[in-house]
């Protein structure tokens, strides 16, 4: 499951170009080979107009299984994924009608991986986990049977009768395991209910829930596959596994009865069925929550929510300001998703959302605590993700701005580039009296040993120095010196930029940002970073998405209708 560590060992021999690796760019190197090796070049979508659309208006993704071919790179990995605390909470809410979030508060903290909370490498399994699963299962079972409304929603007969118990086990078991239970599983659970619960119907009911919620078929998204796929090296998922992937990807929770029924009836057996089901799921409230969750992770908004500042240096900061700033980005993303606008335009949006407190940061008068749409087209300093208070707060230090963090955000979150950690022996440059943090950083980055990396990162942050740690426009820095505000994104628009909007224009036009939405949603959907084996799939998806305007819908639909979404690799996670 783990590849050999590829940490650079000889800094002197490493060029900036090699250090600055785009995840997708890495794939592109392999892509020349993979295109040459494709069995049928005519099937590849090599021009931007080549995307097929069903003549009857029905969505039909223009992929076939040749799109999985990436010669010499092996199969895409599909490691076993465990439910995240959020997925656990949402799924038990859906099945039992309880407030699932209350049961996962004490689950072990999972941390994040480049902003993402659902990556498989974060998913350990220790005594602390199983202890919490035990506690949660017992509490959920007890709460369901203590509330007649919740209980009657899942118990429709007398559980002391064996036929009733059997039906109960089958019904709840299907939802929890996300597939029908086998006869042996039903029998084993019935026996457990009788052994532990005796003849007490409520206790029988509870113990079934306790056992199901601690079972690995619930806690993991098990994908055994139904048989060989037409592509060598892959197994086709069975319909329930497809339903499960769809449900977790699009709604952040397990499939409901309707989706499982659809799977049982053959409705997910082909790409048209998957596309139709996905389109339907995307209209649900759960999908809306999930879209927000995706945006939250992509733009690393948890670091805004957890931000804290030196009150003396950053007096404008309050927790309510952070909440409003987070909500602004989520609203903006929701708008762009709903209106079918290109996601890269998020970086050059001409409006935002603000309440009174956030409006004061932006210099826009707004009344009240509710967020309202504010027009920013006439203000060259505002608009777009990089001009938002959320971006400023999420990338700031405790007492000032951090030009490196801002540059790294743009390179990694918006452009999906990979930056190396600092080499060993780096000692931060000492500040001189009366110097701003940015000036100290500038001297540090002039050091020939540090420059190769920092020239990629820092000029972006220097161009945003006019934004205070909470995003207030300022003409002088922490030390009282005037800010020149000249920025540059090496390799992208060499003429440079001034202010967040111009930076947003540069980034939005860049090839990296165009494909980054696809790569980011891929990470979100598959719970892992792309590998070289995914490069061909990502490339073909990115082309289709580009041809469809780079919208959120096209990103989502292209990924869930790609052949990769309905298969797993043959050798487990390798």
């Amino acid at each position: 499951m783990r590849t050999t560590p590829a940490l650079p060992t000889e800094p002197g021999a490493t060029t900036p170009g090699a250090w600055l690796r785009s995840g997708l760019g890495l794939g592109l190197v392999a892509l020349a080979g993979c295109y040459r090796g494709a069995a049928d070049p005519s099937s590849m979508q090599t021009d931007t107009d080549g995307a097929e659309t069903g003549t009857d208006g029905e969505t039909e993704a223009p992929f076939d299984e040749d799109d999985l071919a990436c010669d010499g790179e092996g199969s895409s990995p599909f490691p076993l994924r465990r439910l995240t605390p959020r997925e656990y909470a949402r799924t038990v809410s859906m099945i039992f009608g309880v407030d699932g979030a209350a049961y996962v508060e004490q689950f072990p903290d999972e941390g994040t991986s480049e902003g993402f909370r659902n990556q498989v490498e974060l998913q350990g399994m220790t005594l602390a986990h199983v202890t919490e699963y035990l506690d949660a299962a017992e509490a959920i079972a007890a709460d369901v049977f203590a509330d007649p409304t919740l209980r009657d929603a899942i118990v429709t007969c007398d559980l002391s009768e064996s036929s009733c118990l059997e039906g109960y086990v089958e019904r709840i078991g299907r939802l929890v395991h996300r597939r029908p239970l086998g006869p042996d599983q039903v029998a084993a659970l019935q026996q457990l209910a009788i052994d532990v619960g005796g003849s007490d119907p409520a206790d029988r009911g509870r113990v079934v829930i306790e056992a199901l919620l601690q079972s690995s078929a619930f806690l993991y998204r098990v994908e055994e596959g139904a048989g060989p796929a037409s592509m060598p090296g892959y197994l086709a998922l069975d319909p329930y596994e497809v339903a499960t992937r769809l449900a977790f990807t699009l709604t952040g929770q397990g499939p409901d009865d309707d989706l499982l029924d659809l799977a049982a009836g053959g409705g997910l057996d082909d790409v048209d069925g998957i596309a139709a089901a996905a389109a339907e799921l995307m209209t649900t409230e759960a999908a809306r929550d999930n879209t927000r969750d995706f945006a939250h992770q992509w733009f690393r908004l948890s670091s805004v929510q957890s931000a804290s500042f030196d009150p003396a240096a950053v007096p404008a900061f309050t927790p309510t300001l952070a909440s409003a700033a987070v909500e602004e980005v989520l609203r903006l993303f929701e708008d762009f998703a709903a209106e079918g606008r290109p996601l890269v335009d998020l970086y050059r949006a001409e409006y935002g959302y603000a309440n009174a407190e956030l409006g004061a940061i932006y210099g826009v008068p707004v009344a009240g605590e509710q967020l309202q749409r504010v027009e920013l087209a006439d203000d060259p300093h505002r608009g777009g993700i990089f001009g938002s208070a959320a971006f400023a707060m999420g990338t700031a230090d405790y007492a000032g701005t951090n030009v490196v963090a801002r540059g790294v955000f743009v390179r990694t979150a918006a452009m999906c580039e990979t930056l190396p950690a600092p080499p060993p022996g780096v000692i931060p440059t000492d500040p001189e009296p009366g110097e701003s943090p940015a000036e100290t950083q500038r001297r540090h980055s002039e050091d020939p040993a540090c420059a190769p990396c920092h020239e990629l990162i820092d000029p972006i942050g220097f161009g945003l120095e006019n934004y205070s740690p909470v995003g207030i426009w300022r003409e002088v820095d922490e030390a009282g010196d005037p800010i020149d505000g000249e920025g540059r994104v090496l390799g992208v628009g060499d003429e440079g930029f001034t202010g967040a909007r111009e930076l947003g224009e540069l980034v939005a036009e860049s090839e990296q940002a165009q494909s980054c939405a696809v790569e980011t949603y891929f990470r979100f959907a598959f719970g892992r970073s792309p590998t070289a084996a995914d490069a061909c799939s990502l490339e073909s998806i990115a082309e289709v998405v580009a041809s469809e305007g780079g919208t959120y819908e096209s990103v989502v639909m292209s990924i869930v209708t790609h052949p990769l979404f309905a298969v797993r690799s043959e050798e487990g996670s390798e």
């Binding site: 499951m1 783990r2 590849t3 560590p5 590829a6 940490l7 650079p8 060992t9 800094p11 076993l80 004490q106 072990p108 903290d109 941390g111 991986s113 490498e121 350990g124 399994m125 220790t126 005594l127 602390a128 199983v130 202890t131 035990l134 599983q185 084993a188 659970l189 052994d195 532990v196 113990v207 306790e210 056992a211 601690q214 079972s215 690995s216 078929a217 993991y220 055994e224 948890s302 670091s303 804290s308 030196d310 003396a312 230090d397 405790y398 007492a399 990979t418 950690a421 600092p422 080499p423 060993p424 780096v426 000692i427 931060p428 440059t429 000492d430 970073s529 050798e571 487990g572 390798e574």
Partner: protein, 460 residues
């Protein structure tokens, strides 16, 4: 590789024979004045009193010139960073010269190297230019397998703060193996619930609940094993971890507190971690000490927080974060760092005080406990792990305290003048300390990671 033949504890054996494990009371009249019976510390019925291992960690190092005593052997004057140890100076040994040395050749931002390697003493691993895991098992987990089985928490990890979201690897110090981190409890209420909730029920009800849970877990184990058999090798490995965790859970749900246990008060919900750091540390220390007292754990890792975590000690007069200050002289000053370290070492002294106030046998809990106090880096200036600050304390097996012991070491950096004055060349792996401590509590291991032997001079 380490032998694991000592994994079966008395309790595990009892359980294997079909008994429900109960903590056997100590009949103090049967113990001699050292708490020993037949040459070993024993409880009623010939069972030894449990020995415990405590690894106390504080982040971001200390100016070594303010930490290292100016003389060796006994009778050293307390250096500024160790002043808070005064009441326990005769219980504590300062160990100079121990180190890991990974930062001297591995690439990374230091914290991603020093956190995962501190208790494992092997290089961290990762892919794509980022370290993501320790490279092997940590000494607390080895000890847990040997002496923790059958207790509520075979090992207990407690940290003031271990939720640094930007760089998760710095939050983890305990590992069962590669990619198997063991997380920290950070919140006093959560820690209390985990350790003590449900312990105040009557024994019959507790027994019935444990039986019920065992039945459910038997089902879970069976169905997980069925599933495991149908999966590929890598997925099987993940389910094996799960099954191992369930086996530990089965043992821990039957664990009952020892006779000498006094259930602490529920701390209730506490505010944000940074609202009252002092109160939070005190609560966590109290719960941890009582967990040892109650024999709910025998292996404790107590961390004063992760290195780059956003910890600010306003009660010490600082408005900058610990980590920012630790980059002295650019961030804070040497004096700032010594002040912070003095406070952190003071929390270690507080833990000694709590354990020494708990009678056991004819002495106190400290008689059967070995504790270390270390940081993952030395001077904040270089953030290196070549020669680390280290203390060892406790009277387990009659260990003597009160000395400054210097071990062969070498550090070419002029940033370490005080250690350079003592080190006569050579190297003493930090793993030697962990090996020494593990052996002191009865873990049957002959070596650990890159250890070259045990530390001499502690039992004289």
């Amino acid at each position: 590789m380490i032998g694991k033949n000592s994994r079966m504890s008395r309790r595990a054996l009892l359980r294997g024979a079909g008994s429900i494990a109960i903590a056997l009371p100590v009949l103090e009249a049967m113990l001699d004045d050292r708490g020993l019976l037949c040459g070993e510390a024993h409880a009623f019925g010939g069972s030894p009193l449990p020995r415990r291992m405590v690894l106390f960690h504080f982040p971001n190092g200390v100016p070594m010139d303010d930490w290292t005593p100016s003389t060796t052997g006994a009778g050293w004057a307390l250096p500024p960073a160790l002043e808070s140890l005064a009441p326990f100076q005769d219980q504590v040994n300062v160990l100079t010269g121990l180190g890991n040395g990974f930062t001297s050749y591995l690439e990374g931002n230091k914290h991603d190297i020093t956190a995962p390697s501190h208790f494992t003493c092997v290089e961290p691993v990762g892919a794509g230019g980022q370290y993501s895991s320790a490279g092997g098992i940590s000494c607390d987990q080895l000890a847990a397998e040997a002496i923790g089985v059958g207790t509520k928490a075979p090992s207990l990890q407690v940290s003031l703060f271990a939720s640094h979201t930007a760089q998760p690897i710095v939050n983890r110090m305990s590992y069962k193996g590669v990619d198997e981190p063991v997380g920290f409890y950070e919140d006093p209420k959560t820690l209390f619930d985990f350790l003590f909730a449900g312990l105040d029920v009557d024994p019959d009800a507790a027994g019935a609940l444990a039986d019920r849970r065992r039945s459910v877990l038997d089902y879970v184990q069976g169905s997980t094993a069925d599933l495991q058999a149908r999966l590929g090798a890598a997925d099987q490995q993940r389910l094996e971890q799960h099954l191992e965790a369930i086996r530990e859970l089965e043992l821990s749900i039957a664990a009952l507190p020892s006779e000498q246990c006094t259930l602490p008060a529920d701390p209730g919900a506490v505010g944000a971690y940074d609202a009252d750091i002092e109160g939070r540390v005190e609560a966590l220390l109290g719960l941890s000490a009582m967990a040892i007292r109650c024999d709910l754990t025998r292996v404790l890792v107590f961390s004063m927080g992760c290195s780059s975590c956003p910890l600010t000690y306003d009660f010490l007069g600082f408005s900058d974060r610990d980590h920012a200050l630790s980059h002295w002289p650019s961030g804070g000053t040497r004096e700032d760092n010594t002040t912070m370290a003095r406070w952190k070492v003071g929390r270690f002294a507080r833990l000694l005080e709590l354990l020494d106030a708990m009678p056991e046998g004819d002495g106190t809990m400290l008689d059967h406990t070995v504790l270390s106090c270390t940081s993952e880096i030395a001077n904040g200036t270089a953030h290196d792990d070549v020669i680390l600050p280290a203390l060892v304390a406790g009277r387990v097996g009659g260990m003597q305290g009160g000395r400054h012991l210097v071990f062969p070491c070498d550090h070419s950096s002029p940033r370490h003048p005080s250690t350079a004055a003592y080190c006569g060349g050579g190297r003493t792996p930090l793993a030697n300390l962990w090996l020494t401590m593990m052996q002191a509590v009865g873990v049957e291991v002959g070596s650990f990671a890159d250890s070259t032997g045990t530390l001499e001079g502690l039992w004289v």
